[in-house]
Symmetry: C2
Subunit: 203 residues, 2 copies
């Protein structure tokens, strides 16, 4: 995930200072990126301004040091939309934030574009499961020095199960999301319980 794109997305939501952006990625933007350093945020912002993607206005802080509030320009807006609507290429690890970063920009897309992304992701992951799920994950010919075979093997098996479960749930939730988008159903309402009509209700 390009920091630039994440920054553009964040700034479209809310023009911010470098400091605020860093804070955002440390707190609510945690899902999107780990360890954003101050230097990185400022340096990238400066580079983006040179390219004309963002501009800043100076915010006077009487007494304290002034802050630069960055806004996305027309050009930056275009760059962001181009990225969003560019064919989606799923990352190797399904846990990587790429998909969620794109879905986070859903408001800038049509339902069809969102569906296209979902289809690519779903197909990719389904293919991966078919390919790798039952391959043996064989280890050492002989265990290395100081290796607790019982613990190691059990943990490997546990890790494999957790991984498989997480992948299955990932796929299932995306399929459900896709269905709801397709059927025009609300995305977040819990599925209504099946209504049982008694004889009395029917009357």
């Amino acid at each position: 995930m390009k920091l630039e794109i994440l920054l553009l997305g964040a700034l479209l939501n809310r023009p911010s200072t470098g400091y605020e952006l860093k804070k955002f990625f440390d707190t609510h933007g945690r899902f999107a990126r780990s360890n954003t350093t101050m230097s990185q945020a400022y340096r990238t912002l400066a580079a983006m301004e040179k390219r004309g993607w963002v501009e800043h206005t100076i915010e006077e802080r009487p007494g304290a040091s002034n802050a630069k509030r960055y806004h996305v320009t027309e050009e930056g807006h275009t760059v962001f939309i181009d990225w969003l609507t560019r064919p989606y290429n799923p990352p190797t690890r399904f846990q990587d934030p790429d998909l969620y970063a794109r879905l986070g920009g859903a408001g800038f897309m049509t339902v069809e574009q969102v569906l296209a992304i979902l289809d690519v992701e779903i197909n990719t992951r389904v293919a991966e499961v078919a390919r790798y799920r039952h391959r043996d994950r064989s280890r050492h010919d002989e265990p290395p020095r100081g290796y607790d075979v019982a613990l190691g093997n059990q943990m490997d098996e546990w890790l494999h199960r957790r991984g498989a479960e997480a992948m299955d749930r990932h796929i299932a939730s995306l399929i459900e999301l896709r269905r709801r988008l397709l059927d025009g159903e609300p995305l977040n309402q819990d599925a209504p319980p099946t209504i049982v009509r008694t004889e009395e209700d029917a009357r």
Copy 2:
């Protein structure tokens, strides 16, 4: 995640060539790292050899080009164990492979060391949930140009729910793992159904 450490871990399992390692990270090692390039694998391996962490033996391939098979040295083994047993510092994103990379080395640790890692992870994530779960994730003062508010808001909400669910499940599965390790139960056996003893059984 340092590539070096991952490489050391993989080589402890099975001495390999650079090509094999790259393949491994493209297939079964997918969970640990995305996009390992050839150049990176070879370059890192060379650097590690210079530092004395690995050595290679040349494997003759009559007719074809010879392959270098890398083995972990005593020193490399020590480096790996040092990393494994060093205090665990959870990454920002709980989906990052750090925890699973460590647990993958469980065979080189004692149960107590594994438990220590689990405790740190569980406590960190529980604290994060307490901190961020109910904070508002407010957006634009006014939506940017071409923004579909209905779709955007619904997707944001969906994303938030999915994220919260994934985090909850992550924590729950680690708590269960911890309990089993503590009680000496098998890690992967499904919980036995509660046995209902009837009057007749009792006799």
